[in-house]
C-alpha cells in the first residue's frame, strides 16, 4: 500500500500537448476516480502512472519513490484494462499467476495466492478454463483477480466496466467498492461515467481538455461545482444552465428576457452570469407563491419512480425532475420554485463559481 503523488505532470505527443500540468495527491488506501469526457487525458494520466506512456514533464511518486523512469514492472502496480487483456493462450489460473511466475516465486506460493484471490472473487470453479470460455462478467473478475494476486501498492483501473451490460455494471460497481473496503489498497480508477464516479469514489478528479477542473469528494462536487464544466458534467440529468444577468432587484434576467427570482441569492449586477439549477431542485409551487415562476409544460417523460418534465419559461427550456407523478399535459401552465441554497451562480466569462 502506498500513497501516490502526481506533481505538475505534462504530456505531449510531438508538439501536441494532451496534459497541461496535473497535480493530484492520493492518500494511502484512497479510492480516487479520474472522470471526464473522452479525450480529456484521464486515460493518458493513468497510463503514465502505470509506466505505459512516457512522462513529458513533472514527477510521479509512488510512496516516496519517484517512478518517472521506472518500467511498469518495477512500479509495484497492477492494472485492470478496459478490454481485460486476458492472455488467450493461458487458463484463468495461469493468467492470474503469471506475474508471480515471472517473479520466479515457488509454485506452491503461486497456487496459494491464486486460490485466495479466486475465493475472494468466487472464481474457484473457473480456474482451468480459458478466457474464451468465460462470460463478460467472469472475464472482468479474472482481470481483477490477476491484479489482486500481485498484492500491489496501487491498483489502476482503466474503464473496467464499460464493456459490461447495464445490469452487470451496477453489480460490479458494488463488488469493486466492497473489494476496496476489504483490501484497503490505493485505487486509481478511470471512467467517463459520472455515476460510476459518484457512487464509488472517495474523491473524484474531474478532468477536461488536459487540465484538472476540480478535485473533491463526490458530494462536494455535486453541492459546490467549482465551474461551469463540473456543474454540467456531474449530476444526471444535467444541471439547467441559464445565461443572463442580475437585475439588481433580486431577479435574474435570462437572455430572452424571462425573469427568474433569485430569492435572496446575492448576484453582482452588470456582468454576464450563468445561473445553474439542478432539475431535481425545482419544485412545484402554488400559483402566486413568492419566488415562484410560471411556465408551460413541453414534454413529460415518466420513468415510474420519477417524472422528468421539460418546461418552457419565456423562451428558455428548463428540465425538472419530480419524485411524484405529475398530471400535466403539454401546454399546461405550472409553477416552479427553487431554494436559493440549491442555486449556483457562475461568471460567464471565466466559468468560475461566484460566492
Amino acid at each position: 500500500m502506498a500513497s501516490l503523488s502526481v506533481q505538475s505532470v505534462k504530456k505531449s505527443y510531438g508538439t501536441v500537448p494532451v496534459l497541461h500540468g496535473v497535480d493530484v495527491e492520493i492518500k494511502d488506501g484512497e479510492f480516487l476516480i479520474l472522470v471526464g469526457p473522452s479525450g480529456c487525458g484521464k486515460s493518458t494520466l493513468l497510463r503514465m502512472i502505470a509506466g505505459l506512456e512516457s512522462i513529458t514533464g513533472g514527477t510521479i511518486k509512488i510512496g516516496d519513490r519517484v517512478v518517472n523512469d521506472l518500467p511498469p514492472k518495477a512500479r509495484d502496480i497492477a492494472m485492470v484494462f478496459q478490454s481485460y487483456a486476458l492472455y488467450p493462450h493461458m487458463t484463468v489460473a495461469q493468467n492470474m499467476g503469471f506475474s508471480l511466475k515471472l517473479a520466479k516465486r515457488p509454485k506452491a506460493e503461486i497456487d496459494a495466492a491464486v486460490r485466495k484471490a479466486a475465493d475472494i472473487l468466487a472464481l474457484g470453479s473457473l480456474l482451468e478454463r480459458t478466457p474464451k470460455q468465460l462470460s463478460g462478467g467472469q472475464r472482468q473478475r479474472v482481470a481483477m483477480g490477476r491484479a489482486i494476486v500481485r498484492n500491489p501498492a496501487v491498483f489502476l483501473f482503466d474503464e473496467p466496466l464499460s464493456n459490461l451490460d447495464a445490469k452487470l455494471r451496477v453489480q460490479m460497481r458494488a463488488e469493486i467498492k466492497e473489494l476496496h473496503q476489504r483490501l484497503g489498497t490505493t485505487i486509481v480508477y478511470v471512467t467517463h461515467d459520472q455515476i460510476e464516479a459518484m457512487t464509488m469514489a472517495d474523491r473524484i478528479v474531474v478532468m477536461h481538455g488536459g487540465v484538472v477542473e476540480q478535485i473533491g469528494r463526490p458530494l462536494d462536487l455535486y453541492d459546490r461545482p467549482a465551474n461551469l464544466f463540473v456543474a454540467g458534467f456531474i449530476g444526471s440529468p444535467s444541471m439547467n444552465l441559464i445565461e443572463g444577468e442580475a437585475n439588481g432587484a433580486g431577479g435574474f434576467v435570462a437572455g430572452d428576457g424571462a425573469v427568474l427570482p433569485l430569492s435572496g441569492l446575492k448576484a453582482p449586477a452588470g456582468r454576464d452570469l450563468v445561473l445553474g439549477i439542478r432539475p431535481e431542485h425545482l419544485e412545484l409551487a402554488e400559483a402566486g407563491t413568492p419566488g415562484s415562476i410560471a411556465g408551460k409544460v413541453v414534454v413529460t417523460e415518466p420513468t415510474g419512480s420519477e417524472t422528468q418534465v421539460t418546461i418552457r419559461v419565456g423562451k428558455t427550456d428548463l428540465l425538472a425532475l419530480f419524485h411524484s407523478r405529475l398530471d400535466a399535459e403539454p401546454g399546461d401552465e405550472i409553477h416552479l420554485r427553487a431554494m436559493p441554497s440549491t442555486m449556483h451562480l457562475f461568471d460567464k466569462a471565466s466559468g468560475r463559481r461566484l460566492d
Binding site: 509506466g51 511498469p72 514492472k73 502496480i77 492494472m79 484494462f81 486476458l86 492472455y87 515471472l102
Partner: protein
Amino acid sequence: MTNDTFFKRWGLAGLMAVICLLVNLPIILMALNSLQTTEQILASRNIIPASFSLANYQGLTNTPFFTYLRNSLVVSLGATAFSVTAAILGGYALSRFRNGLLNAYSTALFAVQMFPIILALIPLFLLFRPLGFINSPVSVIIVYSVVNLPFVTWMARSYFDTIPRELEEAALIDGCGHIEAFFRIVLPLSGPGLAAVSIFAFLFSYNEFFVANVFLRNAEAMTLPVGIQMFMQQFSTDWGSLMAAATLTMLPTLVLFLFVQKFITHGAMAGGVKG
C-alpha cells in the same frame, strides 16, 4: 420457393464445378498423362489414358530429379528461415510503431514488390561470382529472402495487428520486459499466422524459376524448375518423363497450399490493397 432456391444453389454449384474442371484441365491432363509411357502417349493421344503405369516415375530415379529436389529443399528452407525472421521483426515493427523510418520502409517494400528484378540480377551476378556464390544455394537464398520480403512482412503485420496491444501492456505490468512480452505473449498467439507465413515463403521459393535460372547454371546445383526446364529443352519429345517430373514437382506445392489457403487473403489483400 425453397425448391426454387434449392435448384438455383445446386445449379450454380454444377456450373462452378464445370468451370473449375475447365480451368484446371491443363494440370489434370498433365497428371493423367504422366501415368502413361511416352510410347503410349504418342501412340494413342486420348484425353483420358486407357491404361496406367508408374514407369515414368520409376524412370525418374535414373535422372538427376532427386538432386534437383534436394537443391530445391535446401534453397527453399534457407530462404524461408531468412524471410520469416525478417517478416517477424519487420511485421511487428510496422504493426506496433509509427514513425518516418517505418513509412520509408513501407514504401521500400512497395518498390520491391514492383521492382524489375532483372535490374538487380545482372550486377548481383557480377558481385556474387568472385565470392563463389554462383552455383551455390547462398546466392538464391539471399535474393529470395528479399523478393519474399513484401508479402511475408505484410502478412505477418496483418497477423500482429489482430493481437491487442493491451495484452503486451498487461504483460509489462505483470513483470515482463518488452522482449519478454513479445516472446511470451505475442509470438505464441501468432503461431498459426506465422506458420502460414512460413509456408508461403517456402512456396514462393520452391516455385521460383527466373532467379534460380540466372544463378544456378550447373546441373549439380539446379533447383527443380531450372533442372526440368533443361530437360524440357534437351528431350522435348520425352513427354512421359517430363510430365511425371512436373507432376511430382507440383505435389508439395498443392499439399502445402491446401494447408494455408484460408490465410491467403491476409497477405494478398494486405499487400495489394492496404498499402
